[in-house]
Amino acid sequence: MKQFDYVRPATVAEAVAAAAQPGATYLAAGTNLLDLMKGGVSRPDRLVDVTHLDGLDQIERLADGSVRIGALVSNADLAHDAEFAKSYPAVVEALLSGASAQLRNAATVGGNLLQRTRCAYFYDTASRCNKREAGSGCDAREGENRTHAVLGWSESCIATHPSDFCVPLVALDAIVEIEGRNGRREIALDELHRLPGHTPERESALEPGDLIVAVRLPPAAPGFAAHARYLKVRERTSYAFAVVSAAAALRIENGKIAEARLALGGVAAKPWRARAAEDVLRGVAPTADAFQDAAWRALADAKPSGDNAYKIELARRIVVRALTLAAAGTPARIPALPASPFASTSGAIHA
């Protein structure tokens, strides 16, 4: 690990000033960053430790019906907040399907949003990677790429964003509150992560010094609580990143879908909101045919970036299954194996 300076600011303003310097990066729990630093993938000159800042670890219910989640709330504390789980069950199911209990205890909300891709070529400093080193090339293009992107990728980069949490958040129109050199601003989560284009090294809309201080879910989000699921296919049932995942949320009135929300994970460099699919579900009955139609529209622009054509069909099926599960109703309890399509009955013993 490269040597670095360690700074522990007392205020958000001090943090922003310290992190705006070239070579500086924020440290929250470090569950991703330290791993990257140990591998020489990230080589910051200065770590600005935000974990001791006050006021960023609260879950607040606002008067207008929004919820505001401080950037330093741990993934576990958010997932185990009973009131939050009741209002935003798909968010909790996604959180609990990610990483391990140890990592969820440490990892923060802000850090989850800004975690880096798990593309093996990004991690391997002997490989060419345009994201790690701009202009060096992409060894994933002709490499082991069966888990790589099928939407929004470019010849420069076919990496995916690994977050589960972001998928239902983007479906529910989450807003990111940012403190920067010019004060406070907010953007839609959908605008936070960038598609690679010719500049995959620029992953987000954040500028130097920008600090995510909170994530907000708008007043409409709890309206989907009765019909909201997260479904995730991975190469083992627990403690693995998504090959493909989907968050589906429906507002059903008088037997028809008043409003649908759909987002995909593991398919692109950002959590992928499928608005065209949402549009065809508005005003129709929640039937298998309608969900098939939505799935086709969600993947209409998908194309393989390598040995991953299977992910397109898999994503369609996950979309149909997630919508079907959402229509059937949110279960009273999060399943024993959160988000797993292979979830057995709680208490059952399998080999």
Binding site: F4, R8, A29, L34, D35, H52, A99, S100, A106, S346
Partner: protein
């Protein structure tokens, strides 16, 4: 630049001067305090051998910078027994052969203790497997580990009932 931090480790306050901010909690425990029960497996947050409790919560100590945890209360495998009396989770691991080579065992036990405090798994074997998935055992002692955790959980439930009766 030197940085001073203090930690409470297994109930005792310890002060450190760090001449390098790169030291992880895992390396601090093993190299400075010679508490080598906490194991370095992958050193990348994938295996769980380095699991400790920080402020009552289980984390991977290999991915935690010591300097960032100034003031934290740390519990390691060395701190869970009371003298010669094993922690109930330790005793259950022995009773159920919850290990073979033993390398992952301190992390498994600390993770199980943390999990029981989180109260998310109860006595459901499937939930226990899910909630312990951050601890790998390359010998494959998983069946014994789940049995050990089930027994420890049952014992904890029983003593809770006695206390509330």
């Amino acid at each position: 630049m030197n940085h001073s931090i203090s930690l409470t480790v297994n109930g005792a306050r310890r002060d450190f001067v760090l001449d390098d901010p790169r030291v992880t909690l895992l390396d601090l425990l093993r190299e400075r305090l010679h508490l080598t029960g906490t194991k370095k497996g992958c050193d990348r947050g994938q295996c769980g051998a380095c699991t400790i409790l920080v402020d009552g919560k289980r984390i991977n100590s290999c991915l935690a910078l010591a300097i960032s945890h100034d003031g934290a209360d740390i519990l390691t495998i060395e701190g869970v027994a009371r003298g010669d009396q094993l922690h109930p989770v330790q005793a259950a691991f022995i009773a159920h052969d919850g290990f073979q080579c033993g390398f992952c065992t301190p992390g498994q036990i600390m993770s199980a203790i943390g999990m029981m405090q989180e109260a998310q798994a109860g006595n459901d074997p499937e939930r226990i497997r899910e909630c312990m998935s951050g601890n790998l055992c390359r010998c494959g002692a998983y069946a014994g580990i789940v049995d050990a955790v089930l027994e420890a959980q049952a014992g904890a439930d029983e003593s809770n009932q006695r206390r509330s009766a």
